[in-house]
């Protein structure tokens, strides 16, 4: 039930932001359509219903904190790309390679977040995920060492799978 209510609130919020009108008619339409969508397809959004809603909420807050750390990483990544593209030393430093990486993350969503974070941090891009093996393209040796140190994995694990974090 809690899940249904939260889906309804999410849909209604999206409606209000996108329509931008606050009179009774438009809000009524929004409530009606959000209700219909919630009733018809509520089992599509959250897969694992066994988890308690409070766990989800704490995950969400942890994720927001993680997003800020990730933003800083994205800025670093862009400075790195800028250096590679614009300077001669950068061109010399480049030595692309493909790295295999084993992960301990279990759930699909945690893997998705981890893969996207790898893509957004300096010099690494995820190519492929097979079960618990990641195939990562790294652009230089220093970046590869950074990746294999596993700091990011710890952060993702701390949010989504606390029992796995060290």
């Amino acid at each position: 039930m809690g899940y249904r209510i939260s889906i309804f609130v999410l849909l209604l919020g999206a409606w209000v932001v996108l329509s931008g009108k606050f009179d009774a008619f438009h809000l009524g339409l929004g409530v009606f359509s959000a209700l219909v969508v919630t009733l018809l397809s509520q089992d599509l959004l959250f897969k694992d219903r066994k988890k308690d809603l409070s766990v989800r909420l704490s995950e969400t807050f942890g994720f927001i904190g993680y997003v800020f750390w990730l933003l800083w990483q994205i800025v670093l990544a862009n400075a790195h790309v800028f250096k590679l593209a614009m300077t001669r030393e950068g061109q010399k430093e480049m030595s692309p390679r493909v790295v295999k990486l084993k992960t301990k993350l279990k759930s699909d969503f945690a893997k998705f977040v981890f893969a996207n974070s790898i893509t957004l941090t300096p010099g690494t891009i995820t190519i492929q995920i097979k079960k618990n093996q990641f195939l990562v393209h790294a652009i230089s040796e220093a970046v590869e060492k950074d990746l294999l140190s596993g700091e990011m994995e710890e952060r993702v694990a701390a949010i989504f799978e606390p029992e796995l974090a060290t």
Binding site: S95, R97, T119, I125
Partner: protein, 137 residues
């Protein structure tokens, strides 16, 4: 320079707009930074040696530069604190969030498609350098 006639909007008096508010200066700085990062991405896309390295430039430069430019222009347009102004800010945040989610995903999809298509990554090993990159036309 006035482009407002294109939208039939009333032309704003220049003397009123002469000094910039703090929000506008912040927005301009952000948008300028975004343009700078996009310059890096575009040059990288132009001169990196192979598909995978170009992907690095495109996937990262694209995300951050769109993010910064959109946030900058959100600040530039956000001058009054009305409900509509906040709504506009929220919508632009929605676009930013969407780009942040989808850009790495499509990068990853393209990367996998290219890898499984058998494009060889360029490495520093001179023997493989000849084969790599432009294998398939």
């Amino acid at each position: 320079m006035s482009f407002l006639f294109l939208a039939n909007a009333p032309v704003v008096d220049e003397s009123v707009q002469a000094e910039l508010s703090r929000l506008e200066i912040c927005g301009m700085t952000l948008a300028g930074l975004g343009l700078l990062f996009f310059l890096g991405a575009a040059v990288g896309l132009f001169r990196f040696p192979d598909f995978y390295t170009r992907m690095h430039a495109a996937g990262k430069g694209d995300t951050l530069s769109s993010l910064l430019i959109l946030l900058g222009f959100a600040l530039i347009t956000f001058d009054d604190f009305s409900a509509l102004g906040w709504l506009l800010l929220l919508k632009i945040f929605g676009i930013v969030l969407f780009i942040m989610l989808t850009s790495p995903t499509s990068t990853h999809a393209l990367m996998r498609a290219g890898f499984e298509d058998g494009i060889e990554p360029v490495t520093n090993n001179p023997k493989r350098k000849k084969k790599g990159g432009a294998k398939k036309k």
